[in-house]
Amino acid sequence: MTPTISCDDLAVTLPGASGPVHILRGVTLAVEKAEFVSILGTSGSGKTTLLRVLGGLLPASGGTVRCDDTAISGPPEGVVTVFQDYAHSLLPWRTVRRNVALGIEARLPKSERDERVDEALTMVGLLDRAEEYPWRLSGGMQQRVQIARALATRPRVLLMDEPFGALDAMTKASLQDQLQQVQELTGTTIVFVTHDVEEAVYLSDRLVVLNGSPADIGLSLEIPLPRPRHQITTKERPDYLELRHRVYEALGHTVGEPARG
């Protein structure tokens, strides 16, 4: 199986106040088809940057980035990024419905498009706000609109940057499970940036941790938990707890790990 999306010896340098700053160096990552890979790392370690490079939004300063064996020079077909900065990524002059339709309206006939939009909005629980403008929505709602927009396109590869960061635990859990279901049905490849260790372990097939400055991959951990996973039973499994523990440790987290009563 060839990797869907991959980078090899990737380096990224960006301009900073006092000269160029090396953000990433020597990052090698290959994500296979239908794989779910989570990226963790401290704030400012370069997760967003890595995701932007994989999504074809930022050119690499060194190394190669490929999608299905062709070098990337712009967002490849079927690869959709969900931005961390949801407030800026929605079009304020379009209603929620038309924001969600943005990626498909040129490709699909109206009836099918409406169906897809409704489906996506139902998934994120915002169908009743479809005619509202995004700037009248709460932060978490805007974030969900962006997720719906990505899902509506039925992407092959989904690059998500802290997509559930502004959601309450319940909404988050529901979306986690919806995402798993989508992946199971469609075989979507997902790269998922998150700060929530539990979420990362619960959802992923593999989990990588970015650290250092410039950052590279410090830990790469397979999560061999059986699927389908379930919010209660999976999280009660000893191997889940064990994996979670290892990740906390890798993150240098000696204090914040939730107690294991």
């Binding site: 999504g55 074809g56 959709v80 943005l102 990626g103 403008y133």
Partner: protein, 255 residues
């Protein structure tokens, strides 16, 4: 909601007129050339009665709106190209800036030479004047929020779709400002063209009534011009609200 009449604005306007009337009545302002609003009202009645007004108004509106519409098309198209295609901008912007700086009033006689005493002269002048605000505002509006462009890229919108669905709608509020500015500028310069060039329309009516020592009628023409400005602007805003509901709402212009 959009149809709500602006009572407050009308009240301020009427108040200003009443103040003017009082100043004239109390002889604080005592000039034969500057009549009181009531005298202007009489003048307006006379102009309406002899039928000069509507013809002149129609002529001026036709010239100003034709020039403006042309400027709208050219300005938005050229502004988009200049805002998006860097080499075009590099190799022509300075020329346009230089042309823009040329005082159009001084060219009215030249335009008269080229186009004769015709409505074309007026349309050309109106077009030339309205073009720049529309073009500059379009160029400036083309600086779209980068994250929105990235959204378009990620959703694999075509270049045309990015322009049509993201850049232009994002620039709409600015373009509408340009159109509003262009409208009043084209109206004002059509009038100038009528005053010094083609003897027709409200501009000429103004001069003619001045020369005829009819200040009441002359200021009636001025008044009609001003009201035309209000009405045209209202129509543009109304049309923009209808056509670009989301853009207007998101830029705080919903009624």
């Amino acid at each position: 909601m959009a149809r709500r009449v602006n009572l407050l604005g009308a009240a301020v306007f009427v108040l200003a007129l009443v103040l003017w009337e009082l100043l004239v009545r109390t002889s604080v302002l005592d000039f034969t050339y500057l009549p009181a609003p009531t005298a202007v009202g009489e003048g307006l009645g006379e102009l309406l009665a002899n039928g000069e007004l509507l013809g002149a108004l129609g002529h001026t509106l036709f010239a100003a709106l034709s020039g403006w519409a042309l400027a709208g098309l050219v300005g938005v198209a050229a502004g988009s190209v200049l805002g998006l295609v860097r080499p075009v901008w590099t190799y022509s912007m300075a020329s346009l800036e230089a042309l823009r700086a040329l005082p159009i009033v001084a060219f009215v006689p030249v335009a008269v030479l080229l186009f004769g005493f015709s409505v074309q002269t007026e349309i050309m002048v109106a077009f030339y004047a309205a073009l720049w605000p529309i073009m500059l505002n379009t160029i400036s509006g083309m600086r779209t929020e980068p994250r929105m462009l990235e959204s378009g890229a990620v959703l694999r919108l075509s270049k045309a779709a990015v322009l049509w669905k993201i850049r232009l709608p994002g620039a709409t509020a600015m373009i509408v400002v340009g159109l509003r500015l262009g409208l009043s500028v084209s109206l004002v310069l059509t009038l100038v063209a009528e005053m010094v060039g083609n003897p027709a329309g409200l501009g000429f009516l103004l001069v003619e009534k001045g020369q005829a020592l009819q200040p009441g009628q002359m200021f009636a023409a001025v008044f009609v011009i001003g009201v035309t400005g209000i009405v045209l602007n209202g129509l543009v805003m109304g049309a923009a609200r209808l056509a670009f509901r989301g853009q207007m709402a998101s830029s705080g212009e919903a009624a």
